[in-house]
């Protein structure tokens, strides 16, 4: 694995997004309209449990919708071209980095819009934003692998959601528990164990993506 090639792969992804600006714009509008629907149905949310659950559900659905495209959008010809340029580890790492950055932006935008409309009951804001960052990194790791798997089937649009939701739940409930603690200002020993679990799941996810993607990428 060569780092310069990973860098150019990430660069390529951003160039593509810059070229087809409506794809990223559509995601942001998707987020905004979802938040607005929540605003119209809830007005304000004071209860932190509801606040967290709803926020993470919005982020989960947006990320599934966003990351599904990441392998499907590559045409057969472009894939063939990429096979000759880079090895699979470089491609998956490029995708992981790009998706992480993308999800990071999306989740921060989501949270800002959400807090703007629905009120901000968060006590420990830095901790909460840190959890948001960790959460979007983890989601992007797990969802990228699932997108690579789901892209192998062309006739089942629901496959991405079916495959990724059960896989993502252990990670998601830990993240929700952690962000709930931060939003209530609870900072106890439990948080450290959550961090450990989240870090562990992320490390395992990256390792497995690195080992298993070479089997997926071409057939």
């Amino acid at each position: 694995m060569e780092f310069s090639r990973v860098k150019s792969l990430v660069h390529k992804e951003f160039l593509l997004d810059w070229k087809e600006k409506n794809s990223i714009a559509s995601i942001l509008i998707y987020v905004t309209s979802t938040v607005f629907v929540c605003y119209l149905s809830f007005q304000t949310i004071i209860d932190t449990t509801t606040f967290n659950a709803l926020l993470w559900i919005i982020i989960l659905f947006t990320s599934v919708n966003t990351i599904t495209k990441s392998f499907v959008q590559e045409s057969e010809n472009r894939l063939l071209y990429m096979y000759s340029l880079a090895n699979p580890q470089e491609i998956i790492m490029g995708k992981l980095i790009y998706n992480s950055v993308l999800l990071l932006i999306i989740s921060l935008v989501t949270f800002s819009a959400y807090a703007l409309f629905l009120g901000n009951p968060i006590v420990d804001l830095p901790g909460f934003v840190g959890t948001l960052v960790l959460g979007s990194l983890g989601l992007s790791i797990l969802l990228t692998v699932m997108a690579a798997i789901a892209s192998k089937s062309s006739n089942n649009p629901a496959l991405m959601a079916i495959l990724s939701f059960p896989i993502i739940i252990p990670f998601l409930i830990t993240i929700i528990a952690l962000s709930l603690n931060f939003s209530q200002g609870v900072n106890d020993a439990q948080n450290f164990r959550y961090f450990l679990a989240i870090g562990g799941i992320m490390a395992i996810g990256i390792t497995m993506a690195y080992i298993l993607f070479p089997y997926l990428w071409r057939d």
Binding site: V145, I149, K152, S153, N155, N156, L159, I162, L163, F165, P166, I167, I169, P170, I173, T174, A177, Q190, R193, Y194, A197, G200, I201, I204, M208, L212, Y215, L216, D219
Partner: protein
Amino acid sequence: MGKNWWKILGVVLVSYSIVGGFLVPVPELPILNETIRNTYFHIPMWFAMMALLSYSLFHSIKFLAGFDLQHDNKADQSVQVALVLGLFGLLTGMIWAQYTWGSFWTNDVKLNGTAISMLTYLAYIILRGSIEDEHRKAKVAAVYNIFAWVMMILFIMVIPRLNDSLHPGNGGNPAFGSYDMDNTMRIVFYPAVIGWILIGAWITSIKIRIKNIDDTQKYA
């Protein structure tokens, strides 16, 4: 006979655990009372399911190592049998929960973990169904199987340690492993576990052979 001894052993052990499970005296515990006999039927399901899922993982790894479709068939069939065993485990557990905890479904980490594992492996079957090409299907399914197994182990091992559970041994509940399960229970429980694992392996081996016959007829 020489090759089939383990099938006979499985039948004998399961029959023994059914007879012994209803007749052998059990410790009298509050709330649990006679429902403790469900230990002989509920928990072996999980052991058998985990054994089959691990067998499936083993064959998925073997498939990725050599791309022999025979391994893929084994992985697929054992997941199917494991799902049925998991369903039985869930049902016996739900009936037990109704009589001890007062409701069929409680928000318990182990119950949720099981539900999620079942969903994961149902997704595995859907994934197999939605890819036409045999080799591509086998490869993708093997990768997903490895991922699913690791995530399931994480859920079963790690997450319950972060939360309390109603199950024995968690959150101050009596544990059958340490002191409540006396020796008379053990002489029924362990044979039941081994028996159900063997029965599960037997059903799987029959399913694998049926699939092989189907395939030879299809491609003949």
